[in-house]
Structure formats: structure tokens, C-alpha cells
């Protein structure tokens, strides 16, 4: 044993640190772009009527405080965004095996939460949206051809 003491003294602490790092849950997964993929092609957005077409009943997560619950399509829980990462809430989310649908009146909140949870390794995660054109400009730019500015 003594012959290998230097070897073990160096390797074991490093191995332990690596193992701790690998098995700590509640941190972000590696390769951010992989987990963000469905936000690029917008398949992470889902509309009310599409909910029924999901294979399993989704877990609806209401992110706003004291918000009314929408039509019963699945199990509904109210988890205010601020408390999302508390242990009990994470347990609830991890325990659910099917899809999870984020609901909030503020699209900015659901977007941030979606990316946060995705990066933590949640799959089948959706944002409930009333229209898919949140990222479409509702106005039209009218150029003013009368003036030519100086540059």
C-alpha cells in the first residue's frame, strides 16, 4: 500500500472531485446548444388546441402567482417562477414523466423558464402560447422616402 501512496494521494482526490461534479444534480448540462435546439425551430411552442394531441396528459405548470387555471387538459400545478427551483417543486417536476407545459401571461417569463429548465436537462418541455406569432412583427415599417439623411 505504501508503495502506491503518492499515486493514490493524487488520483483519488481528483476522481472524487470529478465524481461529485458528475453526480450533482441541479446544475446545467453540457452542450448548451443541444438543449436549446427546439427553441430555434420553435417546436417548443404549443397552442391550447394542440395540447390534446400530446401522447400523454401533460403537466401544466402555472408560473404566475395566484393565476386561474385554464381548461382541464391535464394535471395542473401552480409554481410561481420565483420558487421554481425549490426542492419540493423540482421533485414534482422530475417526478412527472410526460410533457410539461409552462403557462404564464408574460411570454418573457415562460421563455426564460423554458430555457433555464431545458439547460438543466428537461425534455418534452413546452410553452403554452395563445398565438404562434409572438415573434412576428404585427406592424409594418413604412419607409419615409421624402428625406435623405446626411451621414
Amino acid at each position: 500500500m505504501k508503495r502506491y501512496s503518492i499515486v493514490l494521494a493524487l488520483v483519488i482526490p481528483l476522481l472524487v472531485m470529478v465524481l461529485i461534479k458528475s453526480f450533482t444534480t441541479g446544475h446545467f448540462r453540457s452542450d448548451a446548444s443541444k438543449w436549446a435546439e427546439s427553441s430555434i425551430n420553435q417546436t417548443n411552442l404549443i397552442m391550447q388546441e394542440q395540447l390534446k394531441s400530446l401522447e400523454e396528459k401533460p403537466l401544466m405548470v402555472i408560473l404566475d402567482e395566484g393565476k386561474a387555471i385554464p381548461d382541464e387538459v391535464g394535471e395542473t400545478v401552480n409554481i410561481p417562477a420565483r420558487t421554481l427551483l425549490e426542492k419540493d417543486n423540482q421533485k414534482k417536476l422530475r417526478a412527472h414523466t410526460g410533457s410539461i407545459v409552462l403557462v404564464s401571461a408574460d411570454p418573457a417569463i415562460s421563455a426564460k423558464i423554458w430555457m433555464l429548465l431545458s439547460q438543466m436537462g428537461y425534455k418534452k418541455l413546452y410553452i403554452l402560447t395563445d398565438s404562434t406569432d409572438n415573434e412576428v412583427l404585427k406592424y409594418k415599417f413604412r419607409p419615409d422616402t421624402g428625406t435623405v439623411p446626411e451621414l
Binding site: 446545467f28 446548444s33 421554481l84
Partner: protein, 202 residues
Amino acid sequence: MNTRQNLSAILVLLGIILAFLPLSGKYSLREKPDKLLSEVLDEKTCFTADQVARFVVTEDSTVQLIDLRSAEEFKRFSIPGAINIPYNELMALDLESYLNRDVRSIFYSNGDYQSGYALIIARGLGYKNCFVMKGGLNEWYNLVMNSRFSGETITARENALFETRTKARRMFTELNSMPDSLKARYRESKEIERKKLDGGCE
């Protein structure tokens, strides 16, 4: 055991550990999730369209607008001073040159989704100087471009706000009405020089 055998044993064991680790060059978020969550839910990470209009009007050099829309949309029109990083290219880029700066970076898209995603990515990577424009260009249009004064009396505050909006609207319209060649030249002048990693013997 002599030094060589010790060293060999240590290196081989460490090498075996490394061979099992996923060490892709791709980046992942480093911030602690709970810290990041409370950070991004804070109102301080949001600027209203009116605040952005004021930055534009005063040509504030401590602010960098980042347009997340596609290159075509950006080519058609954009907020004066903005640079374009299409959201679908965001994660393929080396963000260091764009975000590791003393100026505040403000993301905007048409709505709230893409800027929200980008904020998580940027702040999660540790770039603290990143913000969003709430409501995106839709809100910008709603507040700034279509602002109209109605009523009888006006307070000094309202007047200042109204003037800023009018000025921002004029700048926006003037810039985006320019012929494409001039527009391209203007945008080139705004481009950020890509940082080159320092090193080697040069």
C-alpha cells in the same frame, strides 16, 4: 517504485478518467441555476422600449443593442445602432467578442421569446452585462413608432417622454429609409471587431 513508474501510473489513471469524461469543446452554462433564476426575474435585467428610445436618441455609448431577428429582417430595418446576431446562430458563435465588454448589451427580437432565451444563455455563461428590451419590436412600435399625443394638458414629464419618442421615431425612420448601400455602410461602422485570442509566439 521509482519516479518514472509513479508518474506513469498517475498519468495513466488520470488519462483513463479523462477518456470517460464528455469534454466537448461546446460550451455549457456555468452559473448556478438558482442564482441565475433570481437574476433574470429581476426587473433590472429589462429595459422598456422608452428607455431604449432614450439610449438611441442620446446615442449612449455605454449600450449595445443586439438584434436577434434573422438577417433578412435586420436588413430591412432595425433600431439605430443595433448589431445583428440571428438567434439561430447565437450558440454557434464565439460570444466572447460580443458580450465580454464594458458596455451593456441589450437583446431584442420581435417578441419576448427569443430575447428571453438569449438572456438565459448569455447570463448563464457568465456575461453579467446583458439585458433585454421588454416586448421587443412589437412594443417598440406600439410605444415609440405609433405614439400620438392626445389630451388637453401636458406635464413636463410627459412632454420629455413624448419628445424622446418622436426623436427616436424620426431617427428610426430616417435610418431605415436610406438606400440599401448607405444602410449597409452605416451597419458596417457599427460592427464589433472580433477579438482574436492572444497567444503563441507572434
